[in-house]
Structures are given as structure tokens and as C-alpha cells.
Assembly symmetry: C2
Homo-oligomer: 291 residues x 2
């Protein structure tokens, strides 16, 4: 990490802005260059001092970088790889913070030159907010970050990126892109679209009666539609399979409720309660080990 002189963040929204701010906080003598597509975002980023330097010239932004991090919607990655391909210095690591990983790996393989190294990243951090105004330099503290690699991924680039995300405050796990996308369809993408479905199943007059429980259950559905549409599209098969699994579980509960089978309803609810307790327990123990 001592050779790290410059990182570039492409896209200065909540996540990209937070990456840049955290680099400035956690790395000394590393230049954070931010690229913003919109002039208004670039102006805000400058005003908020989110990066050492902010530019709206994407090629210039990456030309001296050791690590380039894409923090734009996934559907833009393919074009961005093409745009920056000719401006990357030898040995540069390209990564991203997108929530699906199979497609980015495929696009990188196709469009990036052989003298640079693509590795996937997915920091499990964020919120339902969007925009640079919500960027924070502590967003990644104690978050987990998945790094994805295939048999073609450069092992040294993986090691370096692992150190990078650790220094950013994350604890790192390594998966293949296929494993990643299957797992996150199940624990993130489908829960997200379920929150949306719960809202869409209710007319506004009924939602006025919602309590704190429903506010929490539906929170993620306030996230940006375009970013999530990209996630679902680039992980469509896994998402569809996970939706089917969820519907199976809903129908199990429906059947027990329909026949007023208290024992079976309690069994299913107790199973969920136990699973959530174990999930919390794992999180607490993992964070204790890390901190």
C-alpha cells in the first residue's frame, strides 16, 4: 500500500463520495481524484471538499491512478471501461462498488487492456438516500466488503485491493462473481424488491395506518429506482429463482394460516426468529473479531 499514490472515483454519489472522503481520512499522502458526469455534482464535490481534485474529464481523471473505482449505476460500466481503456497506466487496478458482479467481470474482460487488472468489489454499505450530499467518511466503518475474483484475476491485485478495503474500515470476504450474485439475490436484491412489492400491494389510504414496523420493513424501497433496476437486470436469473423461493415460503405460511394451524404457524415464525437471532449473533461476533 506504500506505493499507492492516487485513486480515482468515477461517479460522486452517496457511495462514490463516501469512498473519496474515506480515502482522504484513512490514507495519508494519497490523492483522491473524483470524476463527476454532471457539472453541478462536480461543483458540489468541490464545495464539500470530497476529493483532492474534481474533474469532468473522465480520461484525464484516471490517467495517473493506481486504483480506479467505478461508483456509477452498473449499466454505465461497459461504456466507461471502453472510454478509459486507453488512458490507464500499466498495473492499474480497476474495481467498482456495484451490487452485482458477474456482468462487470465480463465487461472488464472484454474491454480493458491486458496491462491493467480488474477485480470486483461490493462494499455492503449505503442507505436509501442518494446523492453526494449524503456522502460520509464513516460509511464503510465495520461494513463487510466482498471482493470477487475469477480464475483470470491477478492474485496480487486481489491482495492489494483486500488491503485497500481493510484500510477503508471494511472486513473483506472473497467470492467468485457467480457465488456473489447468487447470495446477494437472496439476501439483498429480493428483500429490496419485496419491500417495493409490499408498498405496491397497498393503496395510499391504507399506508396511512402503517406503524414503525412497516416503516422499517419498507425502508430500502426508498432507494433510487434506476440503480436497483440495473441490479435486477444484471442478476435476473438469480433474482427470479429467489422470488420463487420467497413465494414458496409465503404459501407455506398462507396454508398454515388458512387452516388455522397454530402449531405450524408458530413453527414457521419460530424458525424465522431463530434464523434472525443467529444472523445477529454472527454479526456481533464477527465485528468483535475485527475491531
Amino acid at each position: 500500500m506504500k506505493d499507492l499514490k492516487q485513486i480515482t472515483v468515477i461517479g460522486l454519489g452517496l457511495l462514490g463520495g463516501s469512498v473519496s472522503m474515506t480515502v482522504l481520512r484513512n490514507f495519508s499522502n494519497v490523492k483522491a481524484v473524483g470524476y463527476a458526469h454532471r457539472e453541478s455534482t462536480a461543483q458540489k464535490a468541490k464545495k464539500l471538499q470530497i476529493a483532492t481534485e474534481v474533474t469532468s474529464d473522465i480520461c484525464k481523471s484516471v490517467s495517473n491512478s493506481d486504483i480506479v473505482i467505478l461508483a456509477t449505476p452498473i449499466s454505465t460500466f461497459n461504456d466507461i471501461f471502453k472510454q478509459i481503456a486507453g488512458n490507464l497506466k500499466k498495473g492499474c487496478i480497476i474495481t467498482d462498488v456495484g451490487s452485482t458482479k458477474v456482468s462487470p467481470h465480463k465487461w472488464a474482460q472484454k474491454n480493458l487492456p491486458s496491462h491493467v487488472y480488474y477485480v470486483g468489489s461490493h462494499p455492503i454499505a449505503g442507505s436509501e438516500q442518494r446523492g453526494i450530499e449524503y456522502a460520509r467518511d464513516d460509511l464503510f466503518d465495520n461494513a463487510s466488503c466482498i471482493i470477487t475474483k475469477t480464475k483470470n484475476t491477478n492474485p496480487n491485485a486481489v491482495i492489494l485491493l483486500e488491503k485497500f478495503w481493510s484500510r477503508m474500515g471494511c472486513y473483506v470476504k472473497i467470492l467468485t462473481p457467480a457465488e456473489h450474485d447468487r447470495i446477494f439475490a437472496s439476501v439483498s436484491h429480493v428483500p429490496h424488491l419485496t419491500a417495493a412489492a409490499l408498498l405496491n400491494a397497498n393503496p395510499d389510504e391504507l399506508l396511512r395506518f402503517a406503524g414503525k414496523g412497516f416503516f422499517d420493513t419498507s425502508r430500502v424501497a426508498s432507494g433510487p429506482a434506476n440503480i436497483w433496476a440495473d441490479i435486477f437486470i444484471t442478476n435476473s436469473r438469480n433474482c427470479c429463482e429467489s422470488i420463487d423461493k420467497l413465494i414458496d415460503e409465503l404459501l407455506k405460511l398462507k396454508s398454515a394460516i388458512n387452516s388455522k394451524d397454530k402449531k405450524q404457524i408458530e413453527k414457521l415464525l419460530e424458525q424465522a426468529r431463530t434464523k434472525r437471532a443467529e444472523m445477529i449473533n454472527y454479526k456481533i461476533n464477527t465485528e468483535e473479531v475485527i475491531s
Copy 2:
């Protein structure tokens, strides 16, 4: 309310304990009597000074009360009505804090004497915790409380109970039990069982990858299984109908995702986002009007 001398809370869990504590905080010169089925709970209630008086004699607990509030699982209501029927003083108001209302009204009508008045209550407050240790005297601050009445319900009892819950910190809405159960199947009961289904659809190894979003989405599933089983059983038809509506919405999303129809996915997500924004907006404005 100046004639209110004594209330009795039957069942000293999170909700019942909180009712008693709030009465002690918000009403001067009103005696709060608590009944606990288990001796260990009664001891804790005494130690925590949750009520003016704690007893494990249910008949004695209600005999001098102006308002009796059931805060036990719904499946116990029918028997409790029978048990206390002979010990209630004339003009006493009986209510409860259960999450479904059609069954309690039916059981009250059948088992309570004509010289007392049953009115349903459902304060929209609580948490996924259970037990008297989690009781709080501010649980009802700014919560809404639904009061339910039928054509047989005494209008003066409704007015008095409305004043009671307002003084407890709630803003009150009045519905019929049938309206109540239909609405809450949709905005509370089915969201709850969906959280359980999301957990049950995932093996524990996958849940270890869950982030903050899933923790929030699934929070309510940590609630007590027996209490929720009673809720689903006493509202089974509405719950089954709401599950079907939710599955319809999930299948709409699945179809759009399966065909990678970005425009349609964005439309459905944007619809959910707007609904949630309106729900929050309504809540903020209502609370401003009340406070």
C-alpha cells in the same frame, strides 16, 4: 376523565407494562393495578414499580376498576372475559391492546355482562422485544391508537376511551373492527409474515452476508411467535387475501426482471418509492398537527 379512579392491566409484558407505567406517569390520582399470570412476572413488576399494585388474582384485580385493559395474547381473551365477567363493576369499560379486533368484539359480546362496555383498542406501538423488562412509559408518545366500535358499542364509552388514549400520548382514529382487521392485515400482519418468509427462504450461511438493509427489513420477525400466531389465526381470511395481493406484486416484478424490461422495473420501483414518500409525509404532517 375526572371520575377515573382505577385502571387494571391484565398481562404485564412489553405492552401491558408500558400501559401501566404510562398511566402512572400521565394521570394523577389514578391507581394502576396489574395482573400477572406468572408469579415471576408479578415479582419483577413489583420490583420495577410498574403498577400501584400487582396481584395474581385476576378477579380481585378488576373488581374496583373503571377501565380494564387486556394485554395478553389474543387467544386468551375469550377465557379472560368469562373469568372476569362476574367481578366487574357497573359501567366499567373493558378494552384490550390486541392487534386484531373482530374476534375480541365477538367474544366480548358473548361473554361480558350488559352493565359493562367493551370497546376495542389497538395502539400502534411495540417492538420486536417481549417481556416486562422492555416496558417503557414513553412507548405511546405520538403513536396512533385505533379504537374500534360496532353498532352495539356504547357511544359514551368510546368518548371516554378516546380521551384515555389521547392522555396516554396517542392520536386516536375510530374504525369498525372489520375495517381495522382488513387494513392491518395489509399494512402490518402480512409485512410481518413476509419478514419471516424472507428469513425462512435463506439458509443460515447466506444470511451471514446480510447487510443493514436486510436487518431492517426483517426486524419485526424477531417478535414473539405465539402472539403473532394468534394475530394471523384471528385474521386469517384478510391475511390470506393480502398474501395473494403481495404475490401478485412480486410476480409483476419477476416478469419485468425476467424479460429485463428496465422501463417497467423502474416504473414499479418508482411507484413504491413515491408511496413510501407519501406515507412518511402523511406521518410527519399528522404528528405536527397533533403535537
